[in-house]
Amino acid sequence: MKHIQNFIIDFGWARIIIGLFLLSLFILAPVADVRIDTSISDTVARFGMACVLVLAMVPMIQSGCGLNFGLPLGIIAGLLGATCTMELELKGLIGLSFAMLITTVFGTIFGFFYGKLLNKVKGSEMMIATYVGFSSVAFMCMMWLLLPFKNPKMIWGYGGSGLRTTITVEGYWLHVLNNFLSFRVSESFVFPTGMILFVLFMCLLIWGFFHTKLGSALTAVGSNPDFAKASGVDIDKMRVISVILSTVLGGIGILVYQQSFGFIQLYMGPFYMAFPAVAAILIGGASINKATITNVIVGTFLFQGILTMTPSVMNSLIHTDMSEVIRIIVSNGMIIYAMTRVNKARQKK
């Protein structure tokens, strides 16, 4: 009994409920005439697409900058990487790699200034991050119209200038990662080996980073900034590094997402992208100042699982698509839960 209790406390009620909910959806799937292999296939694909974006939460959480609501800034770096590469007509794996390179450059620059800004507003990072994300998306809306891109596949058809709202990556790097070493499990389940491998590689990279001297310093800054300072760590510098990492990861995340999804979504596309990622890592068991790679993987799987399963299963069971409502309630409810929970821990101290 004690074991079970401890397990529940360790694992957290919220996650158990969400896990059970997902499990019941999978059990109900055959009853609702939903093909289980299609469901799994979708879940795996969406897991791969979202995972790096969720991973982008980790560095900032670990360094005490809170949940990265400013993820859209990183996504913009990724969009810039993708559009610039398309402009240069680079295709396939080379194209994607080049896009990642450019993304990293932009992400580093953006992240540097974003990090400097967050250092000036310690204590209100999350609110400001949200609005930095929003403002940058709104600013880029103007830029997408004005930047001198020429590739006809990207700009509006009718002779004008300005990029389209959605640009297909077909013929460039559509499914470049997905198709690498992919194999067919069943009729409608193709395992996207390449993407999953890449995602795991990114996770491994971040896991490794937190095992280095620099990564340890970053963790200490998040865990107790005063301790870190007293141990001779430059707190502000560590925070900037973490923000740069998060921003770059956000950019790479969107590239992975796009190569599977097939489209680059510009303009208001990245606007609300931070929220699912934030919700996912919280569902995975992270708190506002502690997150692990396990949180990322578990959380992304649970969250994306619910997103794929609810529409299909619920739809055929009660003939209503309530998935959107469930998504909103679960993801935002999870964020609120996390916000109120941290306070309790601090009060106890």
């Binding site: 280095t212 200490a220 300072k229 007293a230 001779g232 101290k349």
Partner: protein
């Protein structure tokens, strides 16, 4: 007024926190219009006594107290401070509890504003009645006038000099119609000389109006000046109580520090030969901006190989010295370590010069509570000395060496008898004493030339205490590490240190050999000592 007996009678009050006695059998009386001085070192039990009087939660939540308190002849036991206030007991705290954006008037009348009726109060209750600004002014002015200090009632607190804030605070207590007993905790600490004089004078006037006053102060000259009666607390007991006119500063100072006789051990220690009198740390005109422990202007030298003590009462600034030199708080002045000038304000530089610091703020600064023990012990060494790291790719990647971390952690767990499951246990789950040992281990791993330890025995049990002190002695003797120990426990310091400096009002009041008499230390603390 019918009762003619004493205003306040404290009879046989005792209190223990989880088995340790902090107050035992306290008895005293306070008449109307009398001023009583309450004197004692930190931890003597002054604040516990006041907490009992005001019915603070800490008392009831830790099992209450025994004995009884009679206020105006009736037995009382307040459930919360508000009840005490309503019965006519006011308290002026050391920290200001004023609201910066409000005026003096608004602060004086905070939550006791006179209001005017309007019909909405019938619907929504009295909180929707409007404030009676005119009446507020009148009452504020009346309260201020009782003090005899010219205070602008319309000035915003945020624009006031510190002294005015103190007067506002006191006026707030005086505004209460039924104020009968006023307790002031170190009221002159933030005042200038002349302001302090005004305050003391007005306290006398208040007393002559029939208000009983308890003043907690360590400035014995003030106590001698204005009180009618002195109560000296030491280790939770009243060890001296008398009419002020019947006692002397010397007598009070001696009682305050108390406990003569434990000195034997320190004698031998103090005679330790200083073979080479090389100065390892030279401090000149140091100022430190540490909230609550502010240092103004401090100079002293520390000799290589000695254990140097820094004592003094809480809030006087002794903690500011190590915190400033180690760069935890904004500071300035000249500090030379082994002859080299230190750049203040950067912990990294201090660490690189092989100074280390065991902070008094264990949970705040000293530890990563949510990380394992081995992290806590090696982290500083890892960051500053690149130890416990394995290098790959020509030093490009510095990987944490968990084996080395475990090894050294286990070694210290054995050496310092840290009670834990293993070296991966999270530090939050350990007891205070074990946490303190980890802080020490963290400093020892750095192998410093100069070690600051701040309040090393605060809040830990007796067993851990002796291990901590023995370890300090051992490292001083075996490795020749110079130690600067900052502590409120004067007796403890006298047992381990060679010389002890006493800090008072942000300055050093004097430096004495550890075997000097209790009286001389007591007088230094009380601000009446003669500087050596």
């Amino acid at each position: 007024m019918t009762t003619s007996g004493p205003l306040l009678q404290v009879e046989g009050v005792s209190k223990d926190f989880f088995g340790t006695n902090v107050l035992s059998d306290i008895n005293f009386n306070l008449e109307k219009g009398e001023i009583l001085g309450l004197v004692g070192e930190n931890g003597a039990g002054k604040s516990t006594l006041m907490n009992i009087l005001f019915g603070m939660k800490v008392i009831s939540s830790t099992g209450g107290y025994s004995g009884q308190i009679l206020f105006e002849g009736k037995q009382t036991s307040f459930k919360n401070p508000l009840e005490a206030l309503n019965s006519g007991i006011g308290m002026v705290h050391q920290e200001f509890s004023l609201i910066p954006g409000l005026t003096a008037t608004e602060n004086i009348l905070l939550n006791s504003e006179p209001t005017r009726y309007n019909f909405l109060t019938e619907l929504f209750g009295p909180r929707l009645s409007t404030l009676d600004r005119y009446e507020m002014q009148i009452r504020a002015i009346a309260a201020i006038n009782k003090l005899g200090f010219r205070l602008d009632q319309d000035m915003l607190v945020s624009q006031m000099p510190v002294g005015h804030k103190q007067f506002t605070e006191i006026s707030r207590e005086l505004d209460r119609k039924n104020i009968k007993l006023l307790v002031l905790d170190e009221p002159t600490a933030v005042l200038t000389e002349s302001e302090a004089q005004i305050l003391l004078k007005s306290l006398k006037t208040l007393a002559s109006d029939g208000i009983g006053i308890i003043i907690i102060s360590h400035r014995l000259s003030e106590i001698m000046d204005i009180t009618d009666k002195v109560v000296v607390l030491c280790d939770g007991k009243i060890i001296h109580t008398s009419k002020t006119s019947d006692t002397t500063v010397d007598k009070i100072a001696e009682c305050m520090v108390g406990r003569s006789g434990v000195l034997e051990s320190s004698k031998a220690h103090a005679q330790k030969e200083q073979a080479q009198k090389e100065i390892i740390l030279k401090v000149e005109n140091l100022w430190v901006d540490m909230p609550g422990e502010h240092i103004e202007d401090v100079s002293f030298d520390v000799i290589r190989g000695e254990i140097f003590g820094i004592g003094g009462l809480a809030g006087q600034g002794k903690l500011g010295i190590p915190n400033g030199i180690m760069g935890y708080f904004e500071s300035g002045g000249n500090v030379y370590f082994s002859g080299k000038k230190c750049n203040l304000g950067n912990p990294r530089e201090a660490l690189d010069q092989e100074m280390a610091f065991v902070s008094e703020d264990r949970k705040g600064v000293g530890l990563l509570l949510d990380e394992p023990i081995d992290w806590n012990i090696v982290f500083t060494a890892m960051q500053t000395k690149d130890q416990f790291l394995k290098s790959y790719l020509w030093g490009l990647i510095k990987w944490r060496d968990s084996k080395a971390m475990s090894k050294v952690s286990k070694q210290y767990i054995n050496e310092l008898e840290i009670k834990c499951l293993n070296e991966w246990q999270h530090v939050r789950q350990l007891s205070g004493g074990n946490q303190q040992k980890i802080c020490l281990a963290k400093a020892f791993v750095l192998d410093p030339k100069l070690l600051f330890v701040s309040e090393p025995t605060r809040g830990i049990d007796v067993g851990a205490k002796s291990i901590v002190l023995d370890t300090l002695r051992k490292i001083n003797k075996q490795k020749g590490t110079t130690i600067i120990m900052v502590s409120s426990e004067l007796e403890e310091m006298r047992g381990i240190c060679d010389r002890i400096a006493i800090v008072d009002k942000g300055k050093i009041a004097g430096i004495l050999p550890a075997d000097s008499s209790s009286i001389s230390f007591g007088k230094l603390m009380a601000g009446v000592g003669e500087t050596l």
